[in-house]
Structures are given as C-alpha cells and as structure tokens.
Amino acid sequence: MAETTGKTGNSKAPNATKRLRLGLGLMLTLLLVVGGKLFLVQGLDVGGMAEAALNSRMTSAVLPAERGSILDSRGTVLANSVIRYNIVVDQRVNTKTDSYKRYEPQADGHDKLVDVSRDQAITELAAALGMDTNAVRNAVTGDQPYFIVAKEVKPDVEDRISKLQVPGIVAEGVSKRVYPNGAVAGGVVGFLQDGTTGLAGIEQTQDDQLKGKDGKRVFEIGADGLRIPVGLDELTPPQNGKDVKLTLNSDLQYFAQQAIQSQTDKLSAEWGVIIVMDAKTGNLLALADTNAPDPNNPGLVAAKDRGTRSVTAAYEPGSVEKMITAASVIDEGLASPLDKFTIPPTYTVDGQTFSDAFTHGTEERTLAGIIGYSMNTGTVMAGQRLSKEQRYDWLKKFGIGEAPDIGLPATASGILSPPDQWDGRQQYTVLFGQGVSQSTLQTVRAYQTIANDGVMLQPRLIDSYISPDGTEEKVPAQPSRRVVSDNTAHQVKDILESAVTEGEIKDAGIDGYRVGAKTGTSESPCDDGKPGYCGYTASIVGMAPMDDPRFIVEVVLQRPKGSIYGITNGPVFRSVMSQTLRTYNVQPSTGEPVRLPQYAK
C-alpha cells in the first residue's frame, strides 16, 4: 500500500471510521430492538399468545375405568361391562344440511363420491336403528346441539351407522352392564342404578372395589383432529375395577332356585329359600330365593323380591332350634342321647302347658326320640335343666342374634331378647324356636358348627378379589370359634342321623349316603303389625354324608297353603342334597348308619 500524504490520510480515515461506527451503531440499535422484542415475546410472553395457542391446542380426555366383573367360584361370569354406543345428533347441523356427499364403494373396487339427500339419510338411519322413520326425523330436526337418538346400540350397528356418515350424527361410547346368567343368582349379584352405582347385592356392597378410578389424558390436538405427536402428552392411566369372585356354584344355584320355585308354586307359599353351604370352609354354594330379580331388568319383579331373603328374612325358626337345645344339654352334661324321659300327653311347667304336633299317651322316650319326633313336651322337659341364663348363652354361642357378615346388604341379625325380658312362656318356647327369630343363614351356620365337630366357621360369600393385572387376593376367613366339644358334636350328629333312619324324617334319606336332618314347623307372626300368628313356616335342614359331613342344605317355605301336617320339604331337600353330592363327587358313605333308639326301654 502506498503511503498517503498526512493531511489527506487524516481526513479520509476518520470519515471511513465514522461511517463504520455509525453503521455499526445503527445495526446494534436494531439488534437491541429485535432482541428486546424477542425477550418480551418469548421470555415474558406479554400478549399471552403462547398460552392462548397452547389452550386452543390442548384437550383433556377422561379415560373411563372399566367396572370389574362378578364371577362365580368356577369363573363363570355373573356380571360384566360391555361397550355400547349412544347415537347423538347435533340437530342444528343436521337440519340445515339438505344434501351431502359421501364415498360409496362401487363394484369395481374404487370409491365413488355420491350425493345423498337428507331424506335418504334419515331413512337409512332409521332402517339401521330399527326405529320408525318419522321418529328418527323428529329426533334429528330442531336446534339443540345435543340430542340422543338411540341408546345402547351394539357396536356392529354403530359401525353401519358410521359408514352412512349422516351429518351431525356422532356415536358416543358408553359402558353397559350385562348379566349373562340373568335371574340365576340375580338377587345376590344385585343391579345398578343409572348404570354406574350399585343399588343392591354385591354390586352395591362392593361398589368401591368394582368401580376403579378414571384416568385422564392431556394432549395437543391439531386442527385436523389428529393428535400432535411432539406436543404435550400427559397420561394418567385409568385403574380398572377389581373383579369379585364369589363362592357360589351357578349350576347348583340354578338347580336350587328351580327347586324352590317349583315347591313354592306348588304349595302356593309366600316365598321360599334354599341355602347350600360347604361345612368344611363355610363357603356358600347356593343362596336361592323365589322370584329372584333378573338384574338386566329388575323392575319386572316386585320391590320386596329384589333382595335376598335367604340372609335378610328373619322368622321364628321353630323345631330346628331343638338341635341347639340338645347340644346345650349334652355339652353341659345334663343329658345324653339315650337318657330316658317319661313324657305325658301334655306337659305343664310353671303354669305353662305344652303339647306336641301329634297326640300321644304317656311315652318313654330317649333324648334322640324327642328330637327325632320333634316333641315340644320332651324338649321343654330336657331343656328346663338349663337355667335361663344358660339357655340365653347357648343361643348366643350358636350365633343367634349375631348377624353374619358376608357382604350382602341388610343381613338380618334376628331377635334374641335378654333373659330378664323373657316372660313365663317365652323362657320355654325359646327351647323349641318360638319367641326368638333368626334368618335362614343363621340356622345354617348353627348346623355347620355341629357338622364341623363343634367349631363354628363364619359363612363366606366373597372368595377373592382379582386385580386387573391378574393377581388374586383371597379374602381371609373370619376367626372361627369352638362352640361345643368334639364329643358333643358327635352325639348331636348321631341324634340328627337317627331322626332320618329311625325318626320322622325318613323321606330325607338318600340312597348310598348317610344323612342327618331336622324339620321345623313354626308359627309365623303376622306381618302387618297384627297381633298373633298367621300361617306357618315349614323348614328342613340337613347335612351329609354323616361319616364326615361336607354339605348343609336348608329348605324354607313361608306360609304354604293347605294343612301344614301334610306338607313336607323332604323331597326338595333330598333332590338338592343329591345334586350337591353328585356335583362334588362325594364318595358314598361306608359303614353302618347310626340308629339311636327313639323309645327308651
């Protein structure tokens, strides 16, 4: 570079530098403005635009939890939820669209764009739904943004409707509760109110376990309705409800329901109940009621029939309570099965006179004979050896007045008044089951104690809970308690077996098996507050096989018509017990059946 003269150099350099500096300054200012605006928009978001944009993109969807199923002991589904659709319409959209285009598949495989008029669309929609065309037209015409055209439509119908692409029509997924076995175990399973909350039975008491927890999904959605994959996506997965597994055997439940319904209809009784229990575990295999509701349509039966009388109906048990009296006197050492009692035609004690169901002279009977022939007189004679407090304590020990807890609503506890409130007659009548009330389940539980060698197990209806991932948590058994000694239980079992082999209940016998049973006929207090008694309650409870009792069956009939002395539930008991023994492949009894003499020598 040639050297320039001093002066000219000095003037040129500052000019260039000045221009440079000016330009630089200008650029920096502009940069500052841009940077500042960037900071304002990106950093501080003064206009709230980023947030507004996010709000318009963001949608949250509720992921509904699936309600758990109710299963029987072998996994048969008693209740489950299925997908159904409500067909809803935006009436404004539909009313103003006179015709629209849609793709229809042609014979050559391609889709052709076809014009469809509103009338044709309505006719096609009505045909798909199975509704009247005019009804559909009324439903889709109007100015409401949301109107339900059809409820709980099956998925294949919904698929056909969606292919029609009728403007304004949208299918909304809903969950529907279905009960595949209908009225079998209907009262126990219960039903839902509004399709969401349980209103009766297991659906009600186990509602919290069955419901689960809804999940939520927050995501960003574009204008084309498709989720933006790189956007915000928070997922709270739904927790599906747990499945409830019951101890019922649905085939046996059907058999018992059919048997009790036939018997009730034949004798025109008010209602009937059959309970089948496993003596070794306390599991309830069948809880049969007459007129059981079909949970798919519970309104078809009367409101009073929608519960489970097997556990809720308390009544005076009658002669079946004599087993408790016999067990008490034997355990207290006050009598033994072959003790001799001289029984007059009527027995008077403390100014109270008791007579039997059959007339007889003075008889020499054993304790076994008193129970075998269901004699009130003999029972009072034997039972009066217990003090009032002892009678009360023994009834309590056998679970009378104590409600079983099996997970069904309104389980009855029965009525056992304290001994100081007993009047002169009641203190004796409790010995043969009048003046005290209990449910069928409580009676079965008392007999299970004897069947299980004197150890009472609480009845079980809910076997386990199965979580959505498949793990099964068994419900632990409630604490058991010893009520009578092993020896006492054995002697009482002998008395019950003799009632069938030698006593009055010969029609309860089953070929090939040793059976023990007790009948009960009690006067039934009038229901509507009227004093006195109206009709009878006829029952029979038994266990088999007596060499090692496995099952207990009780059959109860409330207020059958006709002479009570001609009515027997023996055949019903026999058929249900045989069916149970056969279902569970119980070996026929070996050895000789017990035959305690009914008359004393």
Binding site: G130, P155, P180, N181, A292, D294, L300, Q587
Partner: protein, 236 residues
C-alpha cells in the same frame, strides 16, 4: 510499503539465504546468485470445499429433521389406524363372548335340553375306580314328570336375532320369557303354565311392549327386496 517501513525489515538477500556454505567458513568465495526460476505459487487457500461442506451439513441436518418429523407423523397415523383396528376387534370379541355366555346360561341350557326331548335323570350311581365297584342301579330315565317352574332366560338386549314378531304365537313366547329375547321353548311353557301364571302376570306388561317393539322392527333388506333367511336360534 512505505520507505520508512522498508527500513524496519531486514532484507535477506538471496545470496546469504541460499548460501550452502557453513557460516563459520572464513572468506569463502561468493557463490553466484541462484538462477532465477519461476517460483511456484503457494497453494491458494481452497475455501470452496469448506463452504460446500458447510452447506452440505446444513442441508443434511434439515433433511434429517424433516425425515424424522415425517416418520413420526406417519407413525401417528398408523397408530390411530391400529388402535381403531384393536377397538373393533375388542368389540367383536365382546359380542362373541356374550353370545357364548348366553348359550351357557343354565336356564337356557335346561330349556334347550327340554326342547330336544331330554329329561333329568332320577337315579345316580358311582364307579369307584380304586376298587372298581359300581354303586347304584341303572334305571332308564322316565319322561313325563312335571318339569316344575321355569326360570326365565336372561333378558340381555339384542342377544339372539329376533325375527319381527307378527303372529300371536310369537307374542305368547315373549310372555313367558324376559323382554327382548327369544323364548326358551313352547313345550316347558305349556307344561309350566300354572306355575308361570304368577310370573306371567308381572311380565304381561313387558310382553306387550316386547310384541310392539318386535312388530316395529322392520327387517333390513340391505337394498334388496327379499328378507334374509331366518337363522334358527335356540328356543325357536
């Protein structure tokens, strides 16, 4: 460069630069100047490839991002399609399971068995495999005993294909079963008429509704003019 500057830089003359003789050699004869030759120009800094490289990397980066975004979006569409397929298969599965459960319901089984002419057996026996003994006496089953009460079949809506009911026989069938479902059989219904009277009274209202609903259910002709042949379903 100005003359002033020239003064600052020592000039390395060609002679001393190219002098091969060691420096300590005293009074060596001055070598001749290196003959002039064309000096190969220093390799010019090749900036073009670097620029190309820069642009190339930029392009690659952009293309990579583009391809990534495209594939994610495509996968999203595929995901939606697969989900739709999964949900339709789930629905089909549910429907088929429901049909199976309907056939398995004990009251439906019993009704179907009665319709086929089967009767419950009255006797039973056992074969003990360990001792090979047979207990019980085999007696042929006897028909004719009163079947007793009929538990109505489950009223699950739309379970079996119900053809449009227009005859009174169909209305009778609807009277002895739950609403919206085909009746188990006409046989046990007749025999159990007395037993079912009580239930029939409660279900009469449902029966009227069922008959009306069934009558309004026009058969779908799928664009044709002849209705499809009626599928024989259990209980018809």
């Amino acid at each position: 460069m100005s003359t002033a500057a020239v003064k600052n830089f020592p000039i390395v003359s060609g002679s001393s630069a190219a002098d091969p003789r060691p420096a300590g050699e005293p009074g060596g004869t001055r070598k001749g100047r290196t003959p002039l030759s064309v000096v190969r120009t220093a390799p010019r800094k090749r900036r073009a490839p670097f620029v190309v490289l820069c642009f190339g990397m930029l392009a690659v980066a952009l293309v990579a991002v583009l391809v990534l975004n495209i594939s994610v979006s495509t996968s999203q569409y595929q995901l939606v399609e697969l989900r739709a397929k999964q949900s339709s298969l789930t629905k089909t599965n549910q429907d088929l399971t429901q049909q199976v459960q309907n056939f398995q319901a004990p009251q439906n089984l019993a009704a179907k068995a009665t319709e086929l002419g089967m009767v419950p057996s009255a006797v039973k026996g056992q074969i003990d495999l360990s001792t090979l003994s047979v207990t019980g006496k085999a007696v042929p089953a006897v028909k004719g005993a009163a079947p007793g009460a009929v538990i109505p079949s489950p009223a699950v809506a739309g379970q079996l294909n119900v053809p449009p009911a227009s005859t009174s026989a169909a209305a009778d069938k609807a009277a002895t079963s739950g609403a919206g479902n085909a009746s188990p059989a006409a046989g046990p219904a007749d025999a159990a008429q007395a037993a079912a009277d009580k239930a029939a009274a409660a279900q009469k209202a449902a029966a009227d509704k069922a008959a009306a609903a069934a009558a309004a259910h026009a058969p779908e002709l799928h664009g044709g003019s002849v209705p499809a042949p009626q599928q024989k379903a259990p209980g018809q």
